[in-house]
C-alpha cells in the first residue's frame, strides 16, 4: 500500500444530541490500525452512540470523522467492517447458518467464498454443531457468539464489538479473549466497547476512557497506568503534616492509607525524612502502580463531580 494508510478510525469533535440530551460532546480520537482498542466508559457514556455514528446508523449533530480513510457511514468502508450490535438481535426464524449466509450476501462477499466463510465463522465461535438450529432457539450467549461470528465474516479490516461478552458466562468470556487477540494477530483492528475493566485490561493495546460523551484519557495501557503512586500508612497526622504530604503530589485518602499520586520512587526517602522530622509516625510505605480500575474511577468520578 503506498504511504501511510492513516488510522483505522479518526473522529473530530463529534457531537450528538438527542433533544436536550447530549450523547457525544466533542468526541475526538484516533484508533491506529491493527490494534485492539478499548472504548471504556460507564453506562450512558455515549459508547454505543459513538459506534452508531461511526457506522452511519446515526448522524452526528456536528463534527466529522473517517473510518478506514473514508467518511463516516461510507458504503465502501462498510464492506470492510464487521459489527456486533450491543443488543445482538437477529432474524430469529433463520438458522445460524442461514443467518451467516444472509450476511455474506449483504456484505457482498463473493458467492464462491460463502460456504467456507460460514463454516469458518461457526467454528470460530464454537457453533459448528448448532449451525442448523433456529437462532430463536439459541441461548442468549449463543446468540451473542453467533453475532460475533457474523461480524467476523469475510475477514473485515475493522470490527466493532459493542459489549461482546455481556451475555456470556465466565467460560464464554475467557474464550472470547484469545479470539480477540487472534484477530489482532491477523491484522484486524478491533474497536471494543466495554464497561468491563478486566476485559479491556486483558485484551486491549490502547484504551480511551470516555465519560459523558467525551474522551477523558487515552493511550496505551502502559501510558495510562504509568502514573505511579505511593501508599503511606501514617500516624499522628495533623493539618501541617497533611499539607506537607500534599506538597509531594495529589493525595487521596482510603481508610488509614494515604495515596500520593505522581510521587516518583526517587523522592520516597525525602518524604519519609520530612514526615519523621515533623513528628509523624510512619508505619508503611508502598510504591505501587495504579490499576485500570482505580484510574477509571478517578477519571470518571472527577468528571462527574
Amino acid at each position: 500500500m503506498p504511504g501511510d494508510p492513516g488510522p483505522a478510525i479518526r473522529t473530530d469533535t463529534l457531537v450528538k444530541r438527542f433533544g436536550s440530551t447530549t450523547a457525544l460532546d466533542g468526541l475526538t480520537m484516533a484508533v491506529p490500525r491493527g490494534e485492539v482498542f478499548g472504548f471504556l466508559g460507564p453506562n450512558g457514556a455515549g459508547k454505543t452512540t459513538a459506534v452508531k455514528v461511526m457506522l452511519g446508523l446515526t448522524r452526528p449533530t456536528a463534527g466529522d470523522g473517517e473510518i478506514l480513510g473514508r467518511p463516516l457511514g461510507d458504503l465502501g468502508a462498510r464492506r470492510r467492517v464487521g459489527y456486533l450490535p450491543e443488543l445482538f438481535r437477529y432474524q430469529a426464524w433463520l438458522s445460524g447458518r442461514e443467518l451467516l449466509l444472509l450476511h455474506c450476501r449483504l456484505a457482498r462477499i463473493p458467492r464462491t467464498h460463502h460456504a467456507s466463510a460460514v463454516a469458518e465463522a461457526l467454528a470460530l465461535v464454537g457453533l459448528s454443531e448448532r449451525g442448523d438450529d433456529r437462532v430463536g432457539g439459541y441461548s442468549k450467549g449463543m446468540q451473542q457468539r453467533l453475532g460475533v461470528g457474523a461480524a467476523l465474516l469475510g475477514r473485515p479490516e475493522l470490527v466493532f464489538l459493542d459489549e461482546p461478552t455481556s451475555a456470556l458466562d465466565p467460560v464464554g468470556r475467557m474464550e472470547m479473549r484469545p479470539l480477540i487477540r487472534g484477530l489482532r494477530d491477523r491484522g484486524t483492528t478491533v474497536f471494543l466497547n466495554s464497561h468491563l475493566l478486566t476485559e479491556v485490561e486483558q485484551v486491549c493495546d490502547r484504551v480511551a476512557i470516555v465519560d459523558r460523551g467525551k474522551v477523558v484519557a487515552m493511550g496505551t495501557l502502559d501510558e495510562l497506568l504509568a502514573a505511579r503512586e505511593v501508599a503511606l500508612r501514617l500516624g499522628g497526622l495533623d493539618a501541617a503534616s497533611r499539607a506537607l504530604v500534599a506538597g509531594y503530589g495529589e493525595v487521596r485518602e482510603d481508610g488509614e492509607w494515604l495515596f500520593v499520586r505522581g510521587l516518583v520512587e526517587d523522592r520516597v526517602p525525602a518524604i519519609v525524612e520530612a514526615l519523621v522530622a515533623a513528628g509523624v509516625r510512619v508505619y508503611a510505605v508502598e510504591p505501587r502502580h495504579e490499576s485500570l480500575e482505580e484510574r477509571f474511577s478517578a477519571l470518571v468520578s472527577r468528571t462527574a463531580a
Binding site: R78, F88, Q91, L94, L102, A150
Partner: protein, 288 residues
C-alpha cells in the same frame, strides 16, 4: 443484488411464519364455499318475463354475485396488504434487527425497496393465484366468465399495492400495529368518500363530487376497486345503468359505468412512487 436479497428474505420470513399456509387454507375454504354457492345458483329455477332468456338472467345474477364476492376478496386483500406489510419495516426497527443489516454495505433505499418488493410479490402472487382459481370455479359451476377478468385482477392487485405502499411508508416511522390500523381506516374512509362522490355525481352536487375526487386522488384504493368492477360487468348491466340515467350507478359501491381514465392509472403509478419516496425520505432521516 441487495434489493432482491431483501425481497427474498421477506418472502422466506412469510413462508417460515406459516403465512403461506394460512393463506392457502383460507383461500381453499373461500373457494369451496363460494363454489358451492355458485353451483346452487346455477340450479335455481329462474322465471323471466319479456324477451330475457333464463340463461341471460342467470348470468346477470351470477355476474352481480361475483362482484359481491370480489368485493369481499378485495377487502381481504386490502386488509392482508396492510397487516402483512405493517411489520416488515417496523418490527425490524423496533427489535434492532435492522442494525446489523444496515451496518453492512446496504443502502437504506435498498432495504426499503426490498421489503416493499417482497410484500408486493407475496400479495400479488396471492391475488393472482386465488383470483384465477375463483374465476375457474365460477366458470366450472355456472359457465359464466366475466368480460375482462385479467384487467379486473390487475386492478385489484393495484389496489392492494397502493395500500401496502402506504403501510410500508408509515411503518418507517410508526409502530406496526398503528401503521396497519391507519392504512385500514384510510381504506375505509376513501371507500365512504367514493360513495359520497358518487352521490354528488348522481345528483349533480359539485361539492360532494369534489369530496369524492379529493378522496380518490389522495388514496386511490376505492377508484381502483371501481375500475376492477367495470371489467366484471357484462354489457347488459352496463346498458341497464345507461338506461337508468347518466350517473345513477355511481351511488352504488359495487357498480361502475366507465373504465379508469389512462391519466388516472398514470396517477396511481405516480402515487405509489411518491409515497415510496416519502417513505424513503422518512427512513433515510431516521435515527437507529
Amino acid at each position: 443484488m441487495i434489493v432482491l436479497t431483501i425481497a427474498r428474505l421477506t418472502l422466506a420470513e412469510a413462508a417460515r411464519r406459516r403465512l403461506f399456509l394460512v393463506l392457502i387454507i383460507l383461500t381453499a375454504i373461500a373457494v369451496v364455499l363460494t363454489g358451492w354457492g355458485f353451483s346452487q345458483l346455477s340450479s335455481v329455477n329462474i322465471r323471466t318475463g319479456g324477451d330475457v332468456t333464463p340463461e341471460a338472467a342467470r348470468s346477470l345474477v351470477v355476474s352481480q354475485v361475483l362482484i359481491l364476492v370480489t368485493f369481499m376478496f378485495s377487502f381481504v386483500l386490502a386488509l392482508g396488504a396492510a397487516f402483512i406489510s405493517a411489520p416488515v419495516m417496523a418490527e425490524d426497527l423496533e427489535s434492532g434487527v435492522i442494525l446489523a443489516v444496515l451496518a453492512r454495505p446496504v443502502r437504506r433505499v435498498e432495504l426499503l425497496l426490498g421489503k416493499w418488493l417482497g410484500v408486493l410479490i407475496l400479495i400479488a402472487g396471492y391475488a393472482v393465484i386465488s383470483g384465477v382459481i375463483e374465476l375457474l370455479v365460477v366458470d366450472l359451476t355456472t359457465g359464466y366468465v366475466p368480460p375482462e377478468p385479467v384487467q379486473a385482477v390487475v386492478l385489484l392487485v393495484a389496489e392492494a399495492t397502493v395500500l401496502l405502499t402506504l403501510t410500508v411508508a408509515l411503518s418507517t416511522r410508526i409502530s406496526a400495529i398503528a401503521s396497519g390500523i391507519i392504512a385500514v381506516v384510510l381504506f375505509g374512509v376513501t371507500w365512504i368518500l367514493g360513495i359520497v362522490g358518487g352521490i354528488g355525481d348522481a345528483f349533480d352536487t359539485p361539492q360532494l363530487s369534489f369530496v369524492g375526487s379529493v378522496g380518490r386522488t389522495l388514496l386511490p384504493t376505492d377508484a381502483l376497486w371501481r375500475g376492477a368492477v367495470f371489467h366484471l360487468e357484462p354489457a347488459a348491466v352496463l346498458l341497464a345503468y345507461e338506461q337508468a340515467g347518466r350517473n345513477v350507478a355511481a351511488i352504488f359501491p359495487f357498480a361502475a359505468t366507465q373504465p379508469l381514465a389512462p391519466a388516472f392509472v398514470a396517477w396511481c403509478a405516480a402515487w405509489v412512487g411518491i409515497v415510496l419516496g416519502i417513505g424513503w425520505l422518512s427512513f433515510r432521516r431516521r435515527e437507529l
